[in-house]
Symmetry: C2
Subunit: 320 residues, 2 copies
């Protein structure tokens, strides 16, 4: 079993000392310069648990990266640039240095990909693998989830349904014949790509009125915006992934379930004033982010409709 | 089993919405005003795992409070006022609402005791109880652990040995006949009291040259200061708790082991220039904190001596 000092040393070996820190890794706390004056301080934590969040077929390196992605996705939808992260680990007794090194390299991947510093953490023995990622940063404008008004557009980045299908393929719950669809679904679930650049630009230009990430599923995300903003949402169409949509061996019902209630997508679900829609599309082009209008807001009390029917308020809720 | 929304609602019911926050609990991230301009941002995480960190006889409420205490203790020894905390929970499947409410009340205890805001968190199902406490704040001066020079005093707050004895009593590893000693030892381990006020005042007045908390044991704490500051430490005496010292049924060797290598004390181990020792004693009186000089620093390369012998470099290292 690897002890705590060894883990810290492996972090230092792979990542080095953070560059923009006043403190050094190994002191009791991490400290850093503050950013410009009027910025708000933003912080977030997301815990990944081996048993429930790391499907068979996902490497430890991918799992560690994913724990960071979950936080980055939330910063992206709030339009805030993440500055740094702490990682708090619970390691099962059987873990050796090779396992830990895989995890550290997953953090290195994420650090390089999203330009964040890893500034500290904690290591413990636990019954299950626990990767708790804490992310912080500073932002002038933080996009809320309660800012939507009536007669606004409802939009999403990317499309939906692939990652939950990928999960079902990994668990053996679903057999898919098309190698192309299998490949796409597995990549979507093993290597999720949050929409950080898009989120930062639309946040910076104040083009978005309300926003949320969709890791708990499209339906729940829409309900959160509708409920907190006190509007209803009418959907024109479901943003089902094209590969999934065209695959004939799944029923329409199944495709709809994956797209609405699957989760793990890390896409942004958001609203904007109609006059800003064109500008948002342009940001999508500039940042290589597919963006689609999928509905509009109307007066109401927090419901979501598709083709005249109420969309079920369910999704990926832990423990259910 | 309790679901995530229920847990969030219990937090809101017991704690209310944080008062000094721009955001509200339930959004993707928490955000807050920043403090004054030249302050450094300080952040820390500490994970408590049921199996290893919650002894039999410790309530869930005490365990939740303890997870916060561990962070407060680190802020105290750095001289930085904690502003807020996030709590990331891993809950075993058998947990019901009563269990969660106990945990939430432990956070409430800590919030009121230390004047911090609980600004967010995460909830997950896990095999073991996991309470990951993330603490942050802002400070002008952060006391490092590498700031000691030669010919300085080495000091501690409080005394040592009781909490590890308490742990051994709880686990049945040690039988103690004195009810008074049992009571003292149990209180020390179940309800630890970090030295926040003392740490903030000596930090603010720049009276301390190097500092560390002692949750991994006195010996390791001394070694950390000595090693990072590149000095040796000569101990005059061991700050063994009086009740423990006077108890005749434990050997001198056992008392020494408890005081040097036990840990879980959350006392501050620190150094100061001789000219500041009187001022520090006065701060101790003002804040009701026992303070004692236990040794001095000399030229060296990171070793710790007591009565001419090298103190063993061991303590509470996870996984060892």
């Amino acid at each position: 079993m690897v002890d705590e000092l060894t883990v810290i040393n492996m972090f230092l070996e792979v990542l080095g000392q953070p560059r923009k820190l006043f403190s050094y890794i190994g002191d009791d706390v991490a400290w850093t310069r503050k950013a410009v004056k009027r910025d708000k301080f933003v912080i977030k934590v997301d815990m990944l648990v081996g048993k429930t969040d790391v499907p068979r077929g996902m490497s430890l390196r991918q799992a560690a990266r994913k724990s960071v992605v979950a936080c980055v996705s939330d910063f992206a939808c709030k339009g805030v640039k993440p500055w740094g992260a702490l990682v708090s680990l619970g390691l099962p007794r059987g873990f050796n240095e090779e396992h830990v090194l895989e995890i550290v390299n997953g953090f290195k991947d994420a650090r390089n990909e999203f330009g964040i510093e890893i500034v500290g953490g904690d290591t413990n023995e636990a019954s299950d693998l626990i990767i708790d990622c804490i992310m912080f940063g500073w932002g002038k404008n933080v996009i809320r989830r309660d800012g939507a008004d009536t007669d606004e557009y409802v939009l999403v980045t990317g499309d939906f349904g692939l990652p939950p299908l990928g999960l079902d393929i990994l668990s053996g719950k679903k057999k898919i014949k098309s190698p192309r669809l299998v490949e796409k679904a597995l990549e979507a679930v093993l290597y999720p790509r949050p929409r950080l650049n898009f989120g930062l630009v639309v946040g910076n230009r104040k083009l978005v009125t309300a926003s949320i990430d969709s890791s708990d599923g499209l339906a729940l995300s829409l309900y959160e915006i509708a409920w907190h903003s006190r509007v209803d949402i009418l959907l024109y169409e479901l943003p089902i992934n094209e590969n999934l949509k065209n695959y004939s061996e799944l029923s329409e019902e199944e495709k709809r379930e994956y797209a609405l209630y699957g989760g793990e997508e890390y896409e942004i679900v958001f609203t904007c004033k109609p006059k800003d829609a064109q500008k948002i599309m342009k940001v999508g082009e500039e940042t290589g982010t597919p963006v689609k209008v999928i509905g509009r807001t109307v007066e109401g009390s927090g419901k979501v409709y598709f083709k005249g029917e109420v969309v079920e308020r369910k999704g990926w809720i832990h423990f259910k």
